[in-house]
Assembly symmetry: C2
Homo-oligomer: 281 residues x 2
């Protein structure tokens, strides 16, 4: 397994692979890999000749009050996991190599970030779209795999990829959950035992909403109210947002007449957790 740090080395390697006719699957991560990331890597492994995983905690997608400094890290374990999954190359750039002294360019989207997580994280998706543009140019993949847990991120990247004419297939991979239903997240590592119990309220509220829709409920206000009551009944929870919206535009929906996205972010103690589900009648 190659471990490359310099963008120029990664880029030369990717171009050499392409000249040989090899296909590249790319899995961008911020490290501290869990079963969710591993499912993305396996997805890439099945689809392409080479799998390239990047591990980079991108500072520009964190707001000033967010958890950049405390974001969990474990590079040695990450590399072991990548080796076990037959990853071909791990790209581990540092900050200075990606954002030089005179750095001043960013990629922004006009509509998709103005919903869900974008409302409480105003610079987040600009940071995401910019780093992914950079990584796409460095890694030159044929496909890139992202988790559906970060539904809005996946939507932003799909749109950006299309708008900027990247010839890259964006693959959305299903959310991987703990046995009790909690969506896997690097941030789960922050949860204290009693918070870990409360954290299940995200998945429970999605399940409850799905059940209400299946039984014929079409009024999203009623569903959201019931979900809020459920979440508020769990200790240490604080809702950031909870919404039912159009899966393409992320715009709020009041009456359900087709499959819709329910998405939510809840702080459980300090960690802020997200989850989502497509609700079908």
């Amino acid at each position: 397994m190659n471990v490359l740090q310099m963008p120029a080395d990664m880029q030369s390697h990717a171009e050499a692979l392409r000249r040989k006719g090899r296909t590249i699957a790319f899995v961008p991560t911020m490290g501290f890999l869990h079963e969710g990331h591993l499912s993305l890597i396996r997805e890439g492994r099945q689809r392409c000749d080479d799998v390239i995983v990047s591990i980079f905690i991108n500072p520009t997608q964190f707001g000033p009050d967010e958890d950049l400094d405390n974001y969990p890290r474990n590079l040695q374990k990450d590399l072991t996991l990548c080796r076990e999954l037959a990853v071909n190359t791990v790209f581990t750039p540092d900050n200075a190599a990606l954002y030089g002294d005179h750095y001043q360019t960013c990629v922004t989207l006009e509509k998709l970030p103005n919903h869900l997580c974008g409302l409480s994280r105003p610079v987040h998706f600009r940071g995401v779209a910019t780093i992914v543009t950079k990584l796409f140019n460095i890694v030159k993949p044929h496909i890139a795999v992202f988790g559906r847990k970060d539904f809005q991120q996946l939507a932003v990247i799909r749109q950006m990829t299309q708008d900027l004419n990247f010839n890259i297939q964006i693959v959305g991979s299903p959310t991987v959950r703990e046995p009790d239903g909690l969506a896997m997240s690097s941030r789960n590592a922050y949860l204290k035992p009693e918070q870990r119990v409360s954290a299940l309220c995200l998945f429970k509220s999605l399940q409850m909403a799905q059940e209400m829709v299946r039984q014929g409920e079409k009024d999203t206000r009623k569903i959201l109210a019931a979900a809020k009551t459920l979440i508020d009944s769990h200790p240490e929870t604080q809702i950031d947002y909870i919404t039912i919206c159009d899966p393409d535009t992320l715009e709020d929906i009041s009456e359900i007449s087709r499959p819709v996205l329910m998405a939510l972010a809840v702080k459980v103690g300090r960690p802020r957790l997200i989850d989502n589900m497509i609700l079908n009648s």
Copy 2:
């Protein structure tokens, strides 16, 4: 010579060229080709196996009061000129193919656009950086050639290329001038005969400034004042800006201690013309 209209066709063709190991020089234009464009094409012809010229009048780099609708066009003549210069492929996309219904992504720079032309054309460089990003992803060149007449555009594109990790060499090609010194521009076609005479004031003021610097003048206020007087003495001229600045950051300079950029934009009747020169002592 290939003439391709669809981005997907252009992209497939570029990828096929790269797989064959051929190098690609790219010359992006808005058409109505003049001797300045032809010099860019010749530069590309000398450096790479394949030369690809794009002809696209990009609407997003024009402000609401600018000359998008009246921008001069002559596709048949452009194609003839490209054929004569042994261009391999001309890419002539239409608006709908590049900016679809849900289009919402743009590439912005934080500093370089806040000077010179960017001040009177606030959306211009966002439009330029975005379309060039798109075209780079479609044409996949090894080098791209731009004229130094649009000095700020060249600076923006160099910075964007570096910041977004495009592995593309940006070549700046010298300004081509009419025999009397007027910088070639598609917009010169708008000039009435008496305006054509006045238009020479841009080049004359640059020459005068160069001569003042050669004779030891270091105070940029004195040089700019003399240049303004010269320009104002020509009928139908209206200065948009005239500045002496750092060629890298484009920030104003008051005392000359190294090579500096003098740049100006002057409306001559309705057409707005630009020119620039590096002043050496």
